[in-house]
């Protein structure tokens, strides 16, 4: 424990430690600053709040980049409770970039839906801080702290549309099931602590290594591993622990869904990868098959059920479950190439999924989100650029070449085959073929032939109604389109030059102790 370590009394925190968690401090401090500013600001100036939030996120991102460039090796701070290694920094990048995109998307969207409140940005920053904590957590307590710091603001954000019943329902579901999952996680941690006597991942790893080298498999540890896996699978929305996902994704305001679907997944997978492929590596033979089964169930369930959806947000929710299954392949392998592939996929996912949800955000009108499938009909004629970009994101999610999604799947399947886990690769491929059906159907809908004219007219009448046009303020859509365009550019550029991210991942180091 920190207090007992020689040379570092509890009341004395060396500056080096603070430097190690500088991005977290900036984001956390940002939350406080935005909170204060929200108290004194003049009414109706929410854009400035977004600007301030964005500034803090940018500063944190800049700091993280600086640390990446400056550090050649991992930095472990607070007596081994937090590692500022490149693994954590990479996850930080993805989380912070996604959060920035969400902040740019938010003001216009919130105004159109009449949700503009200062609390939104405070909660967002707090949640980002939780994610950053998770990225580098090296201690069970810190992991739990990060999970809760991430989740509690999200419970509120999910229910942020207070006059929308779906939002309320989603938030309640998320809260109840999320609390349940936290319970699982905590129970797993308690068992692990009880058995090993440590909360530090480093010490736990050393303990398990000794244990397993002696040929001794501890059933209590196995139970702990199972409980941890369940709790984390919930957070990454992998089937069969996904039940909250569709309702919460559909009910939450679109910007919150964007944030939740990408950033939460990245942070939760960071913990998942670190815990399993590093700390629990000695027990790899025991957990690799169950994790692989969860991955396969996720891929099958997400992709098959997505086919039947008529709501875009639900479709993307099930697609997210399926994508979690793909990323899980890397976790199940529990080897460096699997970890790399998962991280690559997470970065790819951040681009394509943020882009797709950003389009949904832009299309959302006053009072409700763009959600019905039919609302996409004829989009190619009304918004050719948006339709083109949405097609790009769909193709990327489906894994077509020229998009970043292709190399995401490329590295995952390649790692799976190299490790001899042929079943994972084959199920991944079969379900990818299924996924084409619904991703391409979205494209087909946007470029629909004349047969669907009825739906188009219905929508066009709705969109030219006074309240619809009045709220589509150009100031709001401008930056939002920029986000979509940047996500699109990233999707294509990284799809042609995979080396950009791959080279970053080559030098990655994971500290578990």
């Amino acid at each position: 424990m920190a207090s007992t370590a020689p040379g570092y009394p509890l009341h004395f925190v060396p500056v080096g430690n603070l430097l190690g968690i500088l991005p977290i401090l900036i984001v956390g401090g940002g939350a406080v600053m935005v909170l204060l500013w929200d108290l004194v600001r003049p009414r109706g100036q929410e854009v400035w709040l977004a600007g301030l939030t964005g500034l803090f996120l940018l500063a944190a991102l800049g700091t993280a980049i600086g640390q990446w460039i400056a550090n050649s090796g991992p930095i472990v701070v607070f007596n081994g409770a937090y590692a500022n290694d490149r693994f954590a920094l990479f996850a930080d990048f993805v989380v912070l970039i996604t959060a920035l995109a969400v902040v740019v998307l938010s003001p216009g969207y919130l105004r159109r839906r009449g949700l503009a409140e200062g609390e939104y940005y405070i909660l967002l920053l707090a949640s980002v801080a939780g994610m950053l904590v998770l990225d580098g957590a090296l201690n069970l307590i810190v992991i739990f702290l990060g999970i809760e710091l991430l989740s509690i603001p999200l419970y509120v954000l999910a229910g942020f549309a207070r006059d929308d019943q779906h939002s309320q329902e989603g938030a309640m579901k998320y809260l109840l099931l999320g609390g349940f999952a936290s319970g699982f996680l905590l129970y797993g941690m308690a068992l692990l602590y009880g058995e090993t006597g440590h909360t530090s991942l480093t010490a736990i790893h050393a303990f398990l290594l000794r244990d397993a080298t002696a040929g001794h498999i501890d059933p209590m540890v196995l139970a702990a591993v199972g409980l941890l896996a369940v709790g984390l699978a919930f957070k990454v929305s992998a089937a069969p622990f996904h039940w909250w996902t569709p309702d919460v994704y559909q009910g939450s305001p679109a910007v919150v869904t964007t944030f939740m679907s990408v950033a939460t997944k990245v942070a939760a997978f960071a913990v998942f990868l670190r815990l399993f492929s590093a700390t629990l590596a000695p027990y790899r033979a025991e957990w690799t098959v169950p994790i692989a089964v969860v991955a396969i169930i996720s891929m099958i369930y997400g992709n098959v059920v997505a086919v039947a959806q008529t709501s875009i947000k639900r479709l993307l929710a099930y697609s997210g479950i399926a994508q979690a299954g793909y990323i899980m392949i890397g976790v199940a392998l529990g080897r460096p190439d699997g970890t790399q592939a998962s991280l690559y996929y997470l970065a790819a996912y951040a681009f394509m999924n943020t882009g797709a949800f950003a389009v949904v955000t832009i299309l959302s009108r006053r009072g409700e989100d763009c959600d019905r499938y039919s609302e996409l009909a004829g989009l190619a004629r009304r918004e050719p650029v948006l339709a083109g970009l949405m097609s790009l994101f769909m193709l990327s999610l489906a894994g077509f070449p020229l998009t970043v999604g292709f190399f995401g799947k490329f590295f995952l399947f390649s790692a799976a085959i190299h490790d001899g886990q042929l079943a994972l690769a084959i199920w991944g491929i079969l379900t990818s073929a299924v996924s084409l059906f619904y991703y391409l159907r979205v494209i087909l809908k946007m470029y629909a032939p004349a047969a669907d004219v009825g739906a188009v007219e219905e929508f066009e009448v709705a969109s030219v109604s006074p309240e619809g046009t009045a709220m589509a303020a150009p100031t709001a859509v401008g930056p939002a389109v920029l986000v979509v365009a940047l996500a699109g550019a990233g999707t294509i550029v990284l799809g042609i030059f995979p080396a950009v991210i791959y080279t970053l991942l080559q030098g990655i180091s994971v500290v578990h102790g």
């Binding site: 790899r284 080897r335 460096p336 399947f413 491929i429």
Partner: protein, 589 residues
């Protein structure tokens, strides 16, 4: 060649697409002219490549004849010679990862395996005697499609851009020499094709497009797995981890694989087939869907009947050839042993395609579907020639791929003219069109005869060689396949006679058709216009030229066919020098 002619050829259509985007969409004439200029220029470049290539291998051919004494080993290690190679690194992870992963590396070795192999792939282009012909064919068909494309086509600019992007994809598939680059183009070409299918065509097009894409991608994904399989198995055997095709062929990793090395599935190992056979099947599945061979063909009739004429010219003309191209380029060279193991399977599928396609063509009432099923039957011949696994068969297959591209494009132009004039595709509603449309009937007759394999026309040469090759392999296959030739006469003439001969029959009520006849007679507008004639004449001329004087095509095709047969036969003889001399002897008539 000091300048990268292949890259220039490959990306010229892309540059053209960008240029066309700069033209305002209202200026249809300018767009169409630009499209024709770009495709013509591309054709010119591919012809330069073709001529330059043909100038080279004659020297190489003389070298090949000397393999029996002296150079046997060098030739047998890389039997296929690629020209105009260009190579640029695309993704390289040269260093071993182990030292960068303290976490995975430390501690007990029982929990740590060797670091993952580096993943390297490159932008590697090159052509051989197989792909030069197909490149020229592709460029020609895209030009023909550009000529046929009507200025009044809706969303003309988008169509033109997508068409040029498909051309990039097709040329990329033909020129790439790296498995990942190949897969990249193979899949990327589907994107513009998908948009072309959902944007233009009849009401059924959305469904047809979805069906086509899902079929193709499902097959291709298995190929992707197999590509990884090739990569890791070759790497494990030779220590060289590469996706580079010439290197893989030279590595011969599958030449001597005999034991059923097992894959493990969650700890259980299975050994149903040896890895080479699994990999062969995965590649073959992707290509069989694209060709298509019979059990995998059901996307084709929908796609062919719902598309527009310009689209079908290059879609049916060249995209379907890519499957056959892949079978030759990848299956024969990478998996020689499995090619022999599965020879009966592939020949059986080819025969099934020939006969099923022919019989189904007989049963259709929709003229485009007749052409579609005829295409299945013809492509069955190509696969038959490939898996005869001898020089004659393969030579015939290469020629027939080109021939089929020419014939099917011409057929779709003819049928498309009929459809556009009378707004129907039902055979029974039409008849006696030779009277109002004499020029069409004349050109259509040549095309029909070429399609059914009449001597002095191009298809005869290819089919003859294929049947010759199949006969050498086993007479039974040749006999079964010749049934397809007989049926071809039947369905082709049924189409031709039904449309052009007999009493004049036009769709609609008596009065309407009466009116249509008088109007058309007065205006003379029913027959093919100058545009269609310009598009058809070069194709018909090519049919005649290849049919009357096939010697150059055969000779140059033979050189490549010999190389591929040699590659496929690498495992059959224990003594490499003997095998090479045998292949060489066969390759020189």
């Amino acid at each position: 060649m000091s300048w990268p002619i292949l890259s220039v050829t490959l990306f010229l259509p892309l540059a053209g697409a960008v240029a066309i985007l700069a033209i305002p969409s209202s200026r249809a004439r300018a767009i169409r002219l630009a499209l024709m200029a770009v495709t013509a220029l591309t054709l010119g470049l591919t012809c330069v490549v073709l001529v330059a290539y043909l100038a080279v291998p004659s020297a190489a051919a003389s070298k090949l004849s000397g393999t029996a004494n002296g150079q046997a080993l060098s030739t047998i290690h890389s039997p296929i010679t690629f020209q105009f190679q260009e190579q640029v690194n695309w993704l390289q992870s040269g260093t071993s990862l182990s030292h960068l992963h303290p976490a995975f590396n430390e501690g007990n070795s029982a929990f740590n395996q060797a670091a993952p192999p580096p993943i390297n792939f490159s932008y590697h282009l090159g052509v051989d005697g197989l792909s030069v012909w197909l490149m020229a064919l592709a460029a020609l068909l895209f030009l023909v499609a550009a000529v046929v494309l009507s200025q009044r086509e809706k969303r003309l600019r988008t169509f033109a851009v997508l068409m040029l992007l498909s051309e990039v994809g097709v040329l990329g598939v033909l020129t790439s020499l790296d498995l990942i680059l190949f897969y990249f183009f193979w899949e990327a070409a589907l994107i513009p094709l998908y948009f072309l299918m959902i944007g233009w065509g009849d009401r059924n097009r959305g469904r047809a497009a979805l069906k086509f894409i899902i079929y193709t991608v499902a097959g291709s994904l298995f190929m992707l797995l197999a590509i990884f399989g090739v990569y890791f198995i070759t790497g494990a055997q030779t220590g060289v981890y590469t996706f580079d095709l010439p290197t893989l062929i030279a590595a011969q990793s599958f030449v001597h694989t005999t034991q059923a090395t097992t894959f493990s599935l969650f700890g259980h190992s299975f050994s149903l087939l040896n890895p080479q056979e699994w990999l062969f099947l995965a590649f073959a599945l992707a290509f069989a869907i694209k060709v298509p061979l019979v059990p995998f063909h059901s996307w084709l009739p929908d796609a062919y009947s719902s598309g527009t004429t310009p689209f079908l010219i290059f879609f049916a003309g060249i995209v379907s050839k890519l499957g056959a191209f892949g079978l030759i380029r990848y299956n024969l060279t990478l998996f020689p042993q499995a090619s022999h193991t599965f020879q009966p399977l592939m020949l059986g599928l080819a025969i099934a395609s020939i006969l099923y396609g022919a019989l189904a063509a007989l049963a259709q009432t929709d003229i485009k579907r007749i052409v579609g099923f005829a295409s299945i039957s013809h492509l069955g011949f190509v696969v038959l020639g490939i898996f005869a696994l001898n020089v004659d068969g393969l030579n015939g297959a290469i020629i027939q791929m080109v021939n089929h591209g020419i014939v099917i494009a011409a057929l779709f132009i003819c049928v498309g003219v009929v459809e556009s004039r009378f707004a129907t595709r039902t055979l029974s509603q039409l008849g006696g069109l030779a009277r109002p449309m004499p020029v069409l009937a004349g050109l259509f007759l040549v095309v029909t005869l070429a399609g059914l394999g009449m001597p002095l026309l191009n298809s005869f040469v290819g089919e003859f060689l294929i049947l010759l090759g199949a006969f050498q392999s086993s007479p039974v296959w040749a006999v079964l396949a010749s049934l397809g030739v007989i049926l071809a006469c039947w369905y082709m003439l049924r189409l031709y006679q039904g449309l052009t001969q007999g009493e004049l029959r036009l769709p609609g009520t008596e009065a309407v058709s009466e009116q249509l006849q008088t109007v058309s007679r007065r205006l003379g507008r029913l027959d093919v216009g100058p545009v269609e004639v310009v598009a058809l004449v070069p194709l018909v001329a090519l049919m005649l030229v290849i049919g009357v004087y096939p010697a150059p095509v055969i000779r140059y095709g033979r050189f490549s066919a010999a190389q591929y047969v040699q590659a496929a036969n690498r495992q059959t003889a224990t003594d490499p020098a003997l095998a090479s001399s045998r292949a060489t002897a066969r390759s020189l008539p």
